[in-house]
């Protein structure tokens, strides 16, 4: 079959399930004693619609409302978080500084006494207020996902995999940061992501011997040139060349290793149709299907253990035409509350958009659950998925009662989180939740992010 971009992507989606089993067993033969922990961040922008998001009912008898309903089949894997019952959210009660009722559940707090923040993703995974470097807002510290990479000695082919679905990068849309000045770039081209994950390593094709020799020689040459240039440039530029050198080393390390537990992929031929169109909003469902499949396979194959799936970007204005919604997402998030009153038409659209994202999440969890581990559990059973939204109430830019939750890594199935529950919390910070994620990965740091706001892991989760 001619492998075009389009049918590659279709094929990718079909890959989910048992097709990768040979690779998995190969990894098992390599002697992994127990399934390794994985971690994935799931991001969507512009806030949610509280009354269609927050579960009702009790800790284990919770009822999923409209937005979360697609996750019903995974309810045993969910660890939903919400405000204490007595302080349930009411429209209009949020978004005002100093409103005590707005401080329940999980809140993003990065400055003393400031209860609400604007757009931008720099604080979400770092637990720090943004700071200015060279006049531009940068995060205040390493992000959670990169802390996990740092704490491990995985030697993964790809240290962490950041995939975007229709992501456009303003600096403050980036979530993953290796350090305060070094972001992880996000790949939004599904075919490029596929190639990157599955087609960059060695294959057994004899023609690839020359290719691999060439690639190795080119990298070695570049390394030498970077080193020489480093000696020639002003001291202030050396760090930039060091980063370049480190990037080359990372590529060299990948080159000599088998990158794939899928059947050796043929390099798909260039399909201009897809190349031009993957950023079009109407193609988001197709892009999402491909990126989710790539991420799930990369995790299942042990190519990486840390991932980020980012739908669009901070304050994204994209439309969702396949849902019949051509309005800007960002504008809808504001139009949903006009003059302090809910506007039904905009609310309905906002809910439909958020529900679609949760349908995608349910599909992603399906993919992870479909990959068996050697001990009979599934990849999902060992993967913590941290589901985050940029904001709580988009119209007010609120950072209280964040609609964040966890999925996977279930204690009942060999993991570390007591899932299948709706846990109500009072006044926990997002640093506490981030630290809890670290603990769920077996990384027992005593604090994460800004220490002033991190009071410890949330024991109710474990």
């Amino acid at each position: 079959m001619k492998l075009t971009r389009r049918n590659t992507l279709v094929g990718l989606a079909a890959l989910a399930g048992g097709a990768l089993a040979p690779g998995l067993s190969r990894r098992a033969e390599g002697g992994d004693p127990a399934p390794r922990k994985r971690f994935v961040v799931w991001y969507t922008p512009n806030g949610t619609w509280e009354s269609a998001f927050r579960p009702t009912g009790g800790e284990t008898t919770f009822v999923l409302p409209e937005i979360l309903a697609p996750l019903e089949r995974h309810r045993d894997q969910l660890l939903l978080l919400g405000p204490a019952a007595a302080d349930r959210f009411e429209l209009g009660a949020l978004g005002r500084r100093g409103d005590a009722a707005a401080e329940r559940g999980i809140s993003i707090v990065v400055e003393p006494g400031v209860r609400s923040e604007g757009h931008g993703n720099l604080k979400h995974l770092t637990g720090w207020a943004p700071q200015l470097i060279d006049g531009l807002a940068h995060p205040g510290g390493i992000s959670l996902d990169q802390r996990i990479v740092q704490a491990r000695t995985n030697n993964d082919l790809i240290s962490s995999l950041e995939l975007g679905i229709r992501m456009e990068g303003t600096l403050d849309s980036y979530l993953a940061w290796e350090s305060i000045a070094q972001r992880r770039e996000i790949e939004s081209d599904p075919l490029a992501a596929y190639e990157r994950v599955f087609a960059t390593g060695r294959t057994d094709d004899p023609r690839s011997v020359a290719r691999d020799a060439r690639r190795a020689a080119v990298l070695k040459f570049a390394q030498s040139q970077v080193g020489a240039m480093r000696e020639r440039v002003p001291a202030t530029d050396r760090d930039r060349l060091d980063r370049r050198a480190a990037g080359i080393v990372a590529l060299q390390q990948r080159l000599g290793r088998s990158a794939s537990c899928v059947p050796p992929p043929s390099l798909p031929e260039d399909d201009a149709y897809y190349r031009e169109d993957f950023q079009h909003f109407e193609r988001m469902p197709l892009a999402a299907a491909a990126q989710l499949a790539t991420m799930a396979a990369a995790l299942a194959c042990g190519i990486t253990h840390v991932g980020l799936l980012q739908f669009t970007w901070s304050a994204a204005f994209g439309s969702h035409p396949w849902l019949g919604i051509s309005d800007s997402h960002h504008q809808l998030s504001h139009d949903a509350i006009a003059g302090g009153v809910a506007a039904p038409e905009a609310v309905a659209k906002l809910v439909a958009i958020n529900r679609w994202y949760m349908e995608q999440l349910a599909h992603f969890l399906d993919l992870l659950a479909g990959y068996p581990e050697v001990d009979g559990s599934s990849v999902l059973d060992h993967t913590t998925v941290l589901v985050i939204n940029e904001l709580s109430v988009g119209a007010y830019h609120t950072h209280q009662n964040m609609p964040w939750f966890l999925a996977g890594n279930s204690k009942a199935r060999g993991g570390t989180l007591r899932t299948g529950r709706y846990v109500t919390l009072a006044n926990r910070t997002h640093q506490d939740l981030l630290l809890s994620c670290l603990h769920s990965q077996g990384i027992f740091d005593d604090s994460f992010g800004d220490r002033r706001f991190c009071t410890g892991p949330i024991q109710e989760l474990f």
């Binding site: 604007g118 006049g135 972001r183 790949e187 080119v218 990298l219 800007s328």
Partner: protein, 550 residues
Amino acid sequence: MHRIFSGFLAAALGAAACYEAPPAAIPSDADGGVIDRSSDETIHTLRLTRDEYDRTVRDLFGLSTEGPRPSDGLPDDDLIEGLRYGTAVTALHIEKERAAAERIATQVLDLVMFVCVSISDDEACGEKVVEKFAPRAFRRPLLDRESSELLALYRSQVPFGRREAVRTVTEALLFSPQFLLKEPRQEPAANGSSAWDSFTRASRLSYFLTGSMPDDALFIAAATGKLATKSGVRSEAIRLLDGARGRAYLPELYRQLFRSERIAGIGRDARLYPGLTPAAAADLARGFDAFLRDAILGTSKEAPGTVDTLFRGKQIYFTGTTAPLFGVPGAFDAQPRGVPFEPDLRGGVLLQPGFLALQARFDGSDPIHRGVFVRRQILCGNLADPPPNIPVQIQSAIDASVPTTRQRFSQHTDPSHPACYSCHQDIDPIGFAFEGFDGIGRSRTTENGAFVDTSGQITHTSATDGPVANAQEMSERFATSPDVAHCMARHTWLWALRRPRTAGDDAVVDRRFTAVLMQGDATTGDLPGFRSLALAIATDDAFLGPEAAR
């Protein structure tokens, strides 16, 4: 895959205190939340931007501008104060640069192999390829070590065949830091200071004036010492500016600044703007570009493009697709053509349909973003990004009880809402002056049955303040405003250097460049305008020598 105008999220939002009058001293962030985008540190080894990468690869191998961009797949450039820079270095950049080098090397292999067509000896072929392509890829003569390493690289792959060895060298050139980065090199000057060497000067001139690597004549000028003198630099700069590549490139700064590449992609509520098809949006973009070209280049050497032609140029550009949308009489074809349309209402870049349509909402005009754009990019005011807490909501645009956009935003500029007022007092009154134009740039006198008020106000500038009756009058004022002139000169200066602003830039700009733009250059006889400004920058010590020395 373009970075987004982050100001979009400012729509309908309030902000903290946020402006800075243009040439004044830049307060620190602690002084009331002013965002200072400048830095004290200059980055020297900046990456080629994607646009530069495309042009350089095409010039290096003589590729046509048709077909896919060579930079396909590379991450986006950093967008800072409206311009794109090659500042970021991430692991993905390195990975993608390698992949692009591999792809392009394969694509151009036959072309590179052609230099060996009559050479039977493999070693001689390798030498020829290195000699022919490496100095041009590195934009300077090779160091001894570089040529020996390239030849060693070539030899190491000959066992896989000559073709494979040539491919390897080509790929290595494209992935080398000498190609990907612009490395300035110094040489001692007579007076004990240091200057950029001639090839660094050649590259700086060439990227500034043509967006690409030096052409052969410029390499020769560098090699023969012509660029060691200012008069030599000037004559080369004139040659580049007046050549086809230079003329095509001079408006590019303004295309980026106005984000004209986004115009073709605007989407609008079809119920409100049924005529705005994708084809019409694409033609709005082409019309806008045509205006910029004529406004920046001017009509002749005697009538060059000036700040006046940019802000008061009377031609509005339409095609056969867009003219009916605006009710423009006359015959138009596919090529954009400028006509004096609605001359009492329109003139200049800010009243071109393309600009007004881009700076608009899905379902209407957008005084906030029009105001933000003017304040940031035309007046070079430092606006803070949108604020934390948003306590006030504007009415939805579909709320018929509030007929005009201006009224819906009235809370912004009501002093009794200080959270909004502190910033929007300097944004909205500028944007309101554009309210005579709807969401795709058509003129209007009413909105939902109510008369629109186009009066506006410019505030907190050093010399441009005051009320205006409408955007036309505002544009007229901009055409002679020293604030606007400074801002345009500053954009051009940063464009020339291809690096984000640093703390000393405003002083450099006002030492000479602003005056040349507005009054011309008495010492050379250059007329006022953009071409003369480019020449003044290209021959300035601060451009030709290390910045530390200025």
